[in-house]
Subunit: 140 residues, 2 copies
């Protein structure tokens, strides 16, 4: 039995309130967090609520990262979901903690896609990798 | 102690493979699932992988729904994350099951944003509601 992916659900308490209400800064931070996890960023979408609060999702080739913030409580709920062996959602969490500076976090990891299949593979990533390898080969 | 939101993580096994590779159909189904949960759809973004697989996220005012599919395994990992008392992520799950027709599902609920604050409120939804009430009043 092997899992297709790992999903880290993290609660960030005691963050700086202004940062939690800045969609552009949060988007940049979440994209950098995805890179820290060695994930490939495909697209991102962030929205600000009135009078405060931001929701944003970064779709990566390996699944997604998401954040929802409540600046009034200094709180953010963050998801780091990556598939395949090459990306590590915990690295994204470690990175994001350095920039959001929560006074406390709580996290749990949930395995996704636990299937009883031999040689279970996360194909999109492998295909992307093959493409890069093919492209590299073309430039030799 | 009260939670800002509920996050249902669901594993769909034994789904029809063609449907899991159809981004437009999946987007429509996830949007309908959001409505079934009484959530307010804000935006959606879906992507197809080569040679197969779809990733998609629907941002709702109450948080987000997400799906990642592996048609080759008949498998989908689905997230239903809603905040506030007016939306119910389990209703989205119940709806999606009727259209993806998995032979088996596994699900767990994780409470998000459990804060020791009196009168904890999910403000964006209340504000949207107030706006609608104000708009309605303007037409009286």
């Amino acid at each position: 039995m092997k899992a297709l992916g790992r999903h880290v659900l993290a609660e960030y308490f005691g963050c700086e309130k202004e940062l939690l209400n800045d969609p552009k800064a949060l988007e940049n931070h979440l994209i950098e967090a995805a890179k820290a996890a060695n994930a490939t960023v495909i697209s991102s979408s962030f929205r600000t609520f009135e009078p405060f609060g931001v929701s944003g999702v970064v779709i990566v080739a390996e699944s997604h990262l998401a954040i929802h913030t409540w600046p009034e409580y200094g709180f953010a709920a963050v998801d780091f979901f990556t598939c395949g062996d090459s990306s590590n959602p915990w690295k994204a969490h470690e990175y994001l903690k350095t920039v959001l500076k929560p006074s406390k976090t709580e996290e749990k990891e949930v395995l996704r896609g636990v299937l009883d299949i031999e040689n279970l593979s996360f194909k999109p990533f492998l295909i992307e990798q093959q493409k890069r390898e093919n492209n590299s080969a073309a430039f030799v």
